[in-house]
Amino acid sequence: MGINGDHRNSRMVNMGTVFRRLAWLQWNRFSRSISFGRNLAVDLILALLGAMALAGAVAAGWLLIHLLGKIAPSADPFALICGAVWAWFPAELAVRMFFQQPATLQVRPLLLLPFRRGVLVHYVLALSLLSFVSLFLLAFLISLGASLVQQGHSALHVAGWCAGLLFTSLALGQLALLAGRSTGLLAVLLALMAAVAGLHAFGSIDVPALSRQAFLSLYAKPWRGMVPLAVGLLLYQRNYNAMRNNLWPGESAPWQPAAVASGAMAWADRFGRAAPYIRMDLRMIWRNKRPRSTLFLSFIFLLYGLLVRDPGDSKQWFMLVFCSLFMTGFMVMNFGQYMPAWDSACYSLLMTCPRSFHDYLRSKVLMLRAGVVVMAVLSIPYALYDHHWALPLLVFCLYNLGITVPMVLFFGALNTSRIDLGRSAFGNWQGVNAGRFLLVLLIIAPSMLLAFLVKARWSVSASYATIACLGIAGLLAQQVLVRWIGSTYAARKYKTLAGFNQR
């Protein structure tokens, strides 16, 4: 590609050495970060999940042909696979756009070192190729390919076919990186997908048939795998150029932030001594990436209710109440578990201000209650669609208001990991530890168990009544609870400060 092609100046450090040193830097950045090793449990769970997913991919690849043979004995299983490959394109694109963050380098201290700037870009792009998605696909394809060969397909053609698919995936990865930077390209891609979907719906084209045709011909003429490879290289070149042009950090400085609007939020005055904290919290949410994306994630979980096919069916009752609890309570659990860590950057200031923890917590309680109500209101369409939803949503809304909110705040007091507000919540494990998982379990399990036991012994109505009564009791006891939680916060003040001060 001629990037490093200028070898006249041999004193420049070569690419291999730079890559090795950069990898060393990256590893130290990871292994010396404050969160490393501290949440060993989370790391283990993640590693286990990763290993399971990988094993699952290998197993799926091996068994796919056999399964298809059982499901549709008359059809050619390989043709079926080729016909379904299309569905994987938008899925991979979406997964990569959401979860794959381009690797970042702290580039400024490296720019003065004697190697070409382009090497840095190659390094970042190479890292993006090594994403988990690619690994997953590679495992799946190798195992699928092996099973195809075992079924009597030509090894050479299968290898070409698999390579073509892998190249397509890599090209999609490059496309996702490009689209992540350019809203215009993203809009074009979405429009293209909508157009294809529309044409398919009107019967002008048949997407599965086209997919079958294309990928069967890839098998017949494996050299066609060069096409996605060429496209991938072209996109790589585009990414490379775009990123290399951004490698002059000095040019954008002094960075001029856009003028910001600032409302007085006078309506918050009605909350008395909690008002300044409420204003602070709302501004915190609107103006920082991490709380915003955490909140956004909560809305996605509203779709959980779609899992319940028939809410009136008593076999699905458990799923119904679980979804009711989860949908009305997810925002509280997801967002509230990071209280007070959301304020970790200015906790010192708050600790020297003449206000009690009670005022501080009251604003948090109000915010979290608002979260429950908003989620409950947004779940109303379920109740309109099927009236069986109405009662469980209502009683679990009460339960979340009365019990989950103080519970989340209490467990928040035990949380001493700092959170940087500026980074997205997607794929960000900062501040996440085993306690977080435990918290969600502690909130969900007892209420579910109680609801289930009361229903099993008496009736569904008794179960709802119990949950609702618990919620109302929690609401009535709120003053006492918040005071008690406040004393926990006060007792843990120094520990919390020490934790928040660690970067």
Binding site: A259, V260, M280, N288, A345, C346, L349, M351, T352, C353
Partner: protein
Amino acid sequence: MIQVKQLSKHYGNKVALNLPELTLPDGQCVGLVGNNGAGKTTFFNLLLDLVRATTGTINSFGQAVHLSEDWKLHTGAYLDERFLIDYLTPEEYFSFLAELRGQSTADLDALLNGLGPFFAGEVLGTRKYLRDLSKGNMKKAGVAGALIGAPKLVVLDEPFANLDPSSQLGLKAILKQLALRKEVTILISSHDLAHVTEVCERILVLERGELKKDLRTSPETLKELEALFTTAAKA
């Protein structure tokens, strides 16, 4: 009045601060000097009850800071950027503090008007969040925040660092004026010996957690301090 009794702070085996006895009378303007690791910031953190003492107590406004929280009503402090709320504009930050410290909008406006020359038009009305200000302007906002609410004790860690020359002069003028009124106890740390001797009437020299010198400022103090730190550098 601030009274220190048998105060010490250990981190593991390391003694960060050890002050058997110290009294700062009301209205005094006190400067803390010392090389890195001398214990200045540890002392401030203890005074503001942000870390717990290993032994001993600090009394501020008549009560131990870790037992009563009443000192918060009369104390303004700016130690570092953790005292800023970086996603607020300076105006929002000031009114947040004014609200918590029970100040009216009029009080706040009067104070900010007085600080106008110090801000030099770079803090108020810029329509930027605090995180987008330069280091110097962040410090100005933080120092101003510490003055909100008519505090009787003002604690500033390295207030002159990062400030441009005009702002350093402006800050000195503000602190001197505050010290003149003899109602406010001022406690500042600084690596700039000239500034601190000019502003403060009393200088405490800390070295590796111990109080090494307790000087009443006189025309000779600056020379004396320079001599002290020169020998320390040679040692």
